[in-house]
Amino acid sequence: MADYEIPKITGEEGILEIPHIQPDAMKSHGPWISKHEFQEYMHFPTDFKMPESVEHYGDADTLVENWKERALAKMADLKGRYRSLQVYLDICVKCGACTDKCHYFLGTTDPKNMPVARQDLLRKVYRRYFTFAGKFFAKLGMPGFVGGAELTEDVVKDWYNYYHQCSQCRRCSVFCPYGIDTAEISMAAREILDHIGMGQKYCTEIMGKVHKIGNNLGLPGGALADTLEGLEEDIYDDTGVEVKLPMDKKGADILLVTPSADFFAEPHVDGLMGYAKVFHELGLDWTLSSYASEGANFGMFIGSYENMRKISLRVRKAAIDLGVKRIVFGECGHAWRVAYSFLNTLAGPFDFLDQNYPIPQHVLEITEPALAAGKLNIDKSLNDDMTLTFHDSCNIARGSRMGDKPGGQFEIPRNVIKAVCNNFVDMPADTIHDATYCCGGGGGILTDDLMEVRVKGAQPRMEALKYVTDHHGVTHMAAICAICKSQFTKVIPYYGFTMDQIVSVHQLVSNALILTGQLTEEEMEAKEAAEEAERLAAKEAREKAAAEKAAAEKESKD
C-alpha cells in the first residue's frame, strides 16, 4: 500500500505515547511546486525557473531573482501588517509545552515537526535580520549565539518541506502559555515562499479555479445544475417527496454556501441532501449560487489576505445579486472559521441582510434548535445500525464558535447527533473539543503528493478512534468538515478501518428525518409498481392506437 511504514495503533489508551525523536525522518523535497500560470493568476511573482525535478526544489538558481532580499522584504512586510506575527516570533521562551502536541510530530517522530522547531525555522531568520542581537552577532560571524541563522538555500528548502507538514490546526497554541499560533507563522512562511517562486501547486491551482469558475473543483454551472437535479431525484426515489435543491433562485431568503466537495464526494453529498431535507421540512426558502459555489477559502492556508478577500467577496456579490436576507454555511471547517471570524472585515458590512439572524449562520445553528423544539419528525431507530463518535474539526473547534454560548461549537454538533441517534460515545477527553487532533489533511495538505504526511499525521486520531471502537463498539465517526471527511475516507483504510465508517452529521439527520408526506418502503414499492403498471398500460394503449390507426389507414387505402 505504501513504501513507508504505517504507524501501528493499539487502541489500549486512546492516547499515543510520546515517541523517540528521529532527526530528519521527514526530510523531503515537499509537495509539487506551482507552475508559472497558477502563480500568475494569484498575482505572485513569476520570474522563477520551474525546477526540472523534485531534487532541485529550492535550488537558488530556480528561485526568483534576488530571492534573499525579496524573502526578507516580504517578511518585513508581513510583520508590519500583522502585529501578532512579530509578537509570536519574539515571545517564545522555549518552555517546550508544545513539543508533543502536534499530530505530525507524534506520527512522524521528526523533531522539526515539534511546533517550536517549526516556528524556529522562520524565527531564526527573523532574529538574524530583524533584531539588534541577531544583527550584532551576525557581524561577529556567530548569529547562532542568539538563535539567529543566515537565510540560505537549505533554510528555504526546510521552509517549503516543513511548513507543508503543518495543517494549521492550532492544537499547539492551546497548550502554549503565550498562545503562540504556529498556524499564523506557517501561513506567513507560505506567503513568503509564494513570493520567491515556491508556491504549492495544490493550493494555487485550486484557487485559480475558484477565481475563474467559482469553486475548488472547477464545477461549471451546467454540471452543478445536473448534479443537483440528480440529488432531487435520489431524494424523491427514497422518500416520495419532492425536495428541491434550488440554484440561483432570485429573492430566496437564504443563500447556502457550502464546500464544493458537498456536490461531488462521499459522504459529503449525503450531508448536502440532509441540509436540503431540513430546509424543506422547516419551510425555508433557500438557494445555492453558481457564482459563489464554494464555502472553502484556501486563501487562508497560504496566508494571502488578498486572495482570501477575493474569494470572500464572491459570497457578498452572490448575496447581493440574489437579494437574499441570510447567509448560511454548510459543513466545512475552515470555511466556517473564515466566515465566523473574518467575513465581516473581509467582505462586510452585511447591513443588507436580516439583522435578526446570525451573520453568517452555520447550518447546524438552524438544525439544532429545530430538533430541540420538536419541529422535525425524527425516528432515531433508523440510525440504530451505527454507534457514533464525533470528530471535532480543528478550525471549528479552535477558530470559531456556534450558537450563543461559549463551547457551542462542541455542544451543538453533539446535540444534533444525539437527537437523531441512540448510540453516541465520545473519544478520550484529550483528543476532543479544543484539544481535538487534526484529521491530518487540513491547511492545504489534502493532496496525494503529501500522502505519507497525511497517513502519519492521522495516527493520533486513529488511536483515539481505535480505543472507542474496541472499548465502546463505535462503528462510525461523524465530521462537519469536507477536508476531514475526504482525508479520513482516504487514510483510515491504512489503519484497518473502512472508508464508509466516516459520515456527515447531516447525513445522520437525513437518515432519521421523516418528511411530511414521506412514504414507507412498502408504500414506495407499491407506488413504483403502480407507476410501472401505468407506464405499461400507457405503452399498450399507444401500441393499440397505433395498430388501429395503421389498420384504418390500410382500410382507407384499400
Binding site: E205, N216, L217, G218, P220, G230, P259, A261, A265
Partner: protein, 110 residues
Amino acid sequence: MALEVDGQSIELDEEGYLVDLSAWTPEVAKALAAAEDVELTDEHWDIINFLREYYEEYQIAPAVRVLTKAVGKRLGKDKGNSKYLYSLFPYGPGKQACKYAGLPKPTGCV
C-alpha cells in the same frame, strides 16, 4: 514526465495526468494503464467511455454518485455501486479512471 505511445511522446504532469487533454487516444489510455500494470478490459472501457462523454458535455469529471448512478442505469443495478468501481479502479474511480480517460484530476476537498 512523458509517455511513449506509437513513437510519439505524450507529456504528463507530476501525477501522470495528460497535460494536453486533446492528446488522448485509446492507445494512450492503454499505455497509461499499462504503466500501472492494469490491462483494460471491456468493463474498464465502459467506464472510460462514459467519463469522456460526460466530460465533453460538462467540462468536468462526474461525481462518484453521478458515475455510479449512470453505471447502474447502463450496466445493471449490481454494478451501480462504488464497490464495483473500486474493483475496477482500486485507486479510486474518480482519480484512476479519470487518468486513463485523459480527464484532469478532480481537485479540492475531495
